[in-house]
């Protein structure tokens, strides 16, 4: 049962997992699945892994979670190492270089896009630019600005910033709300 999930989970994005676990294998119900997606988004870690782990646990306990995760990442592991080898071997070829030269700016754009999306999500709780420019969330604004300054001044590293911003937000809530 879990082994079958591994195959289904392998290439999956959320909709694919959905078809597999609900329609094909009837492991969980649709409303449970919606909970899975919500939880996966609000807990740390890659969403796909979170979803696979959560479903695995529901279906078969801790063993299920481990099996689901392993099934989920094994195809990635094989494909990525194969691609890395090809890249090392043929990376200098004109065609490959051209493709990478086209993709590099694309990745920069996608990172920028994620940045803007997270900016509005943090301040206005919306992924898109808000239709009405209401006041941004005060605590979030302070935390964001403090984090930015500390990063720019190289006072805080990545992990200090993540942990610190969570704690700062907690602390501020006692004073402001």
């Amino acid at each position: 049962m879990v082994g079958a999930f591994c195959v289904g989970g392998g290439y999956a994005s959320i909709p694919l997992i959905q078809t597999q676990v609900i329609d094909v294998h009837h492991w969980i119900s649709f409303s449970e699945f919606m909970d899975v997606v919500a939880i996966s988004q609000m807990t740390p870690g890659p969403i796909g892994i979170n979803a696979a782990t959560f479903v695995g646990t529901k279906v078969a306990g801790i063993g299920g979670a481990v099996a689901a995760t392993a099934g989920f990442v094994t195809p990635s592991l094989i494909i990525m190492i194969a691609l890395a080898k090809l890249l090392a071997k043929y990376g200098d070829m004109g065609a490959i270089r051209g493709v990478l030269n086209g993709l590099r700016p694309a990745v920069v754009a996608l990172i920028a896009s994620a940045g803007v999306m997270f900016l509005t999500l943090s301040l206005w709780n919306e992924e898109k630019l808000p239709a009405v420019w209401s006041d941004p969330d005060l605590v979030s604004t302070i935390v964001l600005l403090v984090s930015l300054v500390l990063i720019k001044k190289k006072i805080c590293g990545v992990i200090q910033t993540l942990v610190g911003s969570g704690l700062l937000s907690l602390a501020l809530h006692f004073f402001i709300k």
Partner: protein, 189 residues
């Protein structure tokens, strides 16, 4: 493999520790974790160059699977071969595995806890600041080269992705074709 990096026990520990912590404290999907990995590997440890990191992320994004996991694997492999890939993979999947297994037993209490929500919201703001910092730095560097087509790719991809929610897979495909057709010249590397 990268010769400028000393591959010893300390390196593996740093690789594991930083990847584990980033995965453990980052809420959100692929393009949230990737800038943070970039900030750590490239800007802090200087294990690879901007260009190399972006190349690897491009490959990770083009392949099936979760982009954050793909990126962790290929970066680990580039840095330290099979062991490197195993270390980064393990460090990426362990934190969600642990937290989710625990949370799935009492997720109602977790999801509706006021303090948990505030903590996560704050960490999201910290992640936002980190992504913006990485994003702005990369943008500045790309735009400074003053090459028309790469700049057009940046703006086109950004607008299509952010404003029109065009699927990333299509964008990657289009940009790869553009690169293949017009960006093979040495000056674009």
């Amino acid at each position: 493999m990268n010769n400028s990096v000393v591959i010893d026990k300390k390196f593996y520990w740093e690789l594991f520790k930083s990847t584990f912590l980033i995965s453990a404290f980052t809420v959100g999907g692929g393009f949230v974790i990737i800038p943070l990995l970039k900030a750590k590997y490239v800007d802090h440890y200087k294990w690879m160059s901007d260009k190399e990191a972006l190349d690897l992320v491009s490959v990770a994004q083009s392949a099936p699977g979760v982009v954050a996991v793909n990126a962790a694997i290929i970066i680990g492999y580039r840095l330290a071969g099979y062991t490197g890939a195993a270390v980064t993979l393990l460090a990426t999947v362990l934190p969600p595995l642990i937290t989710l297994t625990v949370i799935s037993y009492f997720y109602d209490a977790f999801a509706h806890n006021y303090y948990v929500q505030i903590l996560l919201r704050g960490m999201q703001c910290g992640a936002t600041a980190l992504i913006l910092d990485v994003g702005i730095n990369l943008l500045q560097k790309e735009l400074k080269k003053k090459l028309l087509l790469p700049c057009l790719i940046i703006f086109g991809t950004f607008i299509a992705n952010y404003f029109f929610q065009v699927n990333i897979m299509y964008l990657i495909l289009i940009d790869a074709v553009i690169g293949y057709l017009w960006l093979q010249d040495e000056k674009y590397s």
